[in-house]
């Protein structure tokens, strides 16, 4: 991403921008965003603002740029991800260095967190009053990465936990938070275990852990492996961690040139992207790569209740789309337009 950003800069490829006046004519704006799917759209590189798309559970309502529609102002540059806790949505705006807090049902702005945040990546809520945000710090400095601990009552960063470089996605289990160190602009191979306000332990996994799911007492970590352009190419792997002992119990390797992403789970099935296909693997008998079920180059994947939600970012300089597949037939059942670079899929319940 850094190289790309620099490249886009040095080649003056000021590609595109969004002005958020989309879809004002045909779609009405519901005043209630209960029950449905949110898509966070990063928005174009360098300029403009990311947005959030809402699709109601019954697919009857699609609303673009809901935050701006409700509040009259933009979220900011590169809407990286979103998380929920209690009634609030915490929207992580990477390049603007802030967390925007909104009511998850009305999307009315509640607050924003701008202090002690630096290149934020992901948010996760824990125990109702506490939230964690992974931060790269200065993306070119591998020694200043941290996890910010938020007090969700005051919406302030109460402390920061220094961590190994490139913290990215998080999952929580019981009272602990597991942080995958994808490695920022480089590569890392760790999962940090955070308890309270300190790192309790780190677990070494495969190179470039890019996505995780918890299934029962198991944590599945999908590692992309080091790509060929970054030195010695290493294969992707699926690493299974027993959450009771916090140790790696199994590692399944892909072929050396395979670099999977986007692990998601529905019941006992895991799904992920690899080489333009979505694969399915059953947790009870893991064999890789599993069964290829759907063709497509997707930017984000989420499985839920027998459906697979997948975003297509197209050329990254125009509106993307969300496709919904029925996992019993592997057929596409819905296709919605989103904002520019749809990078995250979330469910409001």
């Amino acid at each position: 991403m850094k190289k790309l950003l620099l490249l886009s800069l040095t080649t003056l490829l000021f590609i595109s921008c969004s002005s958020d006046d989309d879809n004002t004519s045909s779609e009405y704006i519901p005043d209630d965003y209960e029950k449905g799917v949110f898509i966070t759209n990063e928005g174009p590189f360098n300029n403009g603002s990311g947005t959030i798309t809402y699709i109601s559970e019954d697919y009857s309502t699609v609303a673009q740029s809901i935050y701006k529609s409700v509040n009259g102002f933009d979220l900011g540059n590169i809407v990286q991800s979103m998380g929920f806790e209690n009634d609030n949505a915490y929207i992580v705006v990477n390049n603007s260095n802030k967390i925007m807090v909104a009511n998850r049902y009305t999307f009315e702005s509640v607050d924003s967190i701008k202090t002690d945040i630096a290149s934020p990546r992901h948010f996760i809520g824990a125990s109702g009053t506490r939230g964690y945000v992974t931060n790269w710090g200065d993306p070119n400095d591998n020694s200043d990465d941290f996890v910010a601990v938020l007090d969700l009552r005051s919406n302030e960063v109460v402390t920061t936990i220094p961590v190994d470089f490139g913290p990215e996605k998080m999952v929580s289990h019981n009272t602990k938070v597991y942080v995958a160190h994808q490695g920022g602009y480089g590569q890392n191979n760790l999962v940090s275990v955070i308890s309270g306000i300190s790192v309790e332990k780190t677990i070494t996994v495969g190179d470039v852990p890019n996505s995780m799911v918890v299934s029962g007492n198991e944590l599945y970590v999908l590692c992309g492996g080091t790509p060929s352009y970054a030195g010695t190419e290493t294969s992707g792997s699926l690493v299974k961690i027993d959450l009771l002992t916090e140790t790696v119990t199994d590692t399944f390797n892909f072929a050396t040139t395979d670099h999977p992403t986007n692990l998601t789970a529905d019941g006992n099935n895991l799904f992920y992207s690899l080489n333009g296909k979505v694969y399915k693997v059953n947790t009870s008998s893991v064999t890789l790569p599993g069964t290829g079920i759907i063709d497509g180059l997707f930017y984000a994947l989420k499985a839920k209740d027998g459906k697979l939600y997948a975003t297509d970012a197209g050329d990254f300089a125009s509106k993307g789309s969300l496709k919904i597949f029925d996992l019993s037939t592997n057929q596409e059942i819905q296709d919605f337009q989103t904002g520019i670079i749809p990078g995250g899929i979330y469910f409001n319940e």
């Binding site: 790309l4 003056l12 595109s16 921008c17 989309d22 900011g76």
Partner: protein, 610 residues
Amino acid sequence: MKQQGFHIIFMLLLCTFAAQAQLDAIQELPEVVLADAKLLHFSKGFKVEKLSDSVIKRNATSLTETLRYNSSIYFKENGFGMVSSPSFRGTNAAQTAVIWNGININSNFTGQTDFNTISPLNYDAISIRSGGGGVQYGSGAVGGSIHLNNNFSFDKTNSTNLGLRYGSFSTIAANASTTQSWDDHYLNVGVDFISSENDYDYVGKSKTNNHGQFLRFSAKVNEARKLKNGFASWNSEYSYNDRNFSGSLNTLGRDAYKDINTRNLWQLQQNIGVFTTKASFAHLFEEYKYFPSSEKYYYEGGKANTFIGALQTEVFLLKKLRLNGKLEYDYVSASGENVGDNSRKTLAAVVLLNHKISDKLSYGVNLRKEFLNDFDNPFLFSADAKWKLTNNYALRLNGSKNYRVPTFNDLYWYAGGNFQLQPETSYQVEVGQDFVFGNLKADVAAYYISSKDLIKWIPGNGGLWVPVNINKTENYGVEVNLNYAFNFNKRNRLSLNANYSYTKAEDLEKEKQLIYVPFHKAGGSLQYDSKNLSAYIQGLFNGEAFTTTDNSDRVDAYSVFNIGIDYKFAFIPNITFGGRLKNVFNTYYENVAYRPMPSRSIEIFLNFNI
């Protein structure tokens, strides 16, 4: 003052709109040696507009500003003074070649010139040549080319010029140059400097551009010596830019960019009989440093050295047939954090012909073939004709094949660079008409460009972006220029310049308009001159431009107006002073979405001519 005299001659002779016919006359002025005579002799069926000195001085902050107000080129500018890239006739930023004294100076890394890094005050002539110039100027001369020339003369000259400017946003600028010519010597030395806090308000947004400071310094030396049957010359230029990059409406600026360019050209010309032979050697150096954080020392950068050796011979027979043959060898060596250490060699053979059948009709045929380089070596050609049907009407026609070679970034960028890339190619035709009705001059041009194998970075497997020769585009459009002058009496004169362009540039696969190509652009100025005073109003209309490839988002249309006044005391005519009010109506506008341009500002200046 002699140099100024030439400018006046040029201005008179080279009125923008009837450039060709009048260019013919210039070659009769042996005392002016043109740095790039090809532009004059082998572009007769092309539209070549020369910008007058007064026009340049009015918009002297950068070459971006000069051309934005005085041509139909659209500039994507990331905030005032920041990175600026052109779209000429709807082509991409690497398809406008910038030619310094006949040499293509587009960056080896980006294929482009950042027009904000160039001071328009460093040259004796700035010309805009529309249409394909690949045969003569090489890679990137697709939409058109911008020519920055330092000409010279051996007529006795002793002139020195000093200019000082001060303006809003703590902008300070100064330029000084002296031109000396004695016996067989010509010497021109100059420096130019501008620095600005650039902390303008984002109109109506209660935000300020607080990380857009820029500084540019450039220096030039142009020297020539008359020899028995010719001359030897040396053109040299140095420029240094140090900029913090502005944020946008949604981000705070953090990064910074520094670049250094040096350019040197040595030429030796000998006239033997009907043959004029010229040997030239040039060295170009470019270096950039990109700082992700302006407050830290960490940067990524690159540098490139270009060596060019060329030998050309021209014959001019019976005052009708001009034939030029040229061999040129280029060696580029580039290195950088992201492109490794690579080089490129090119040998090009060029044949140019212009035949004047009669005073009314002339035509040209130009061919270029390249050897040695790593691509399918393109064979380029162009043909043009100019037909003066009556004293009031002339027709010109041209067609050409042009190309743009992949840059070092495209080929070697780590990671993603694709060394199997081939050049972008494009074909184009143009029909132009000149009209003269008394004091009204008009030029109407229509063109069509078809391009294929355009290099585009696309996301591949595993999130890695890779450039491929994929895009096909089709551009067509119309350009209209008008120039009208009305003399009340000997001392009072009113003149009007206007231009309008319609540009359709379509991605053939998506069937959508290309991003950042406005359909409509118009500009103009109305000027009143009396003996000691001149006043003008200048306006620019920029139509809306799409910012996404599916044309779902856009940057809005805008109009901006500037006014200005220059005054000269009757008793000290070598001092001129005045002021300009820019963006009179304090309009909010953007050239790149979410990158606001300056609020209303003023500038005052003082010029001494000695």
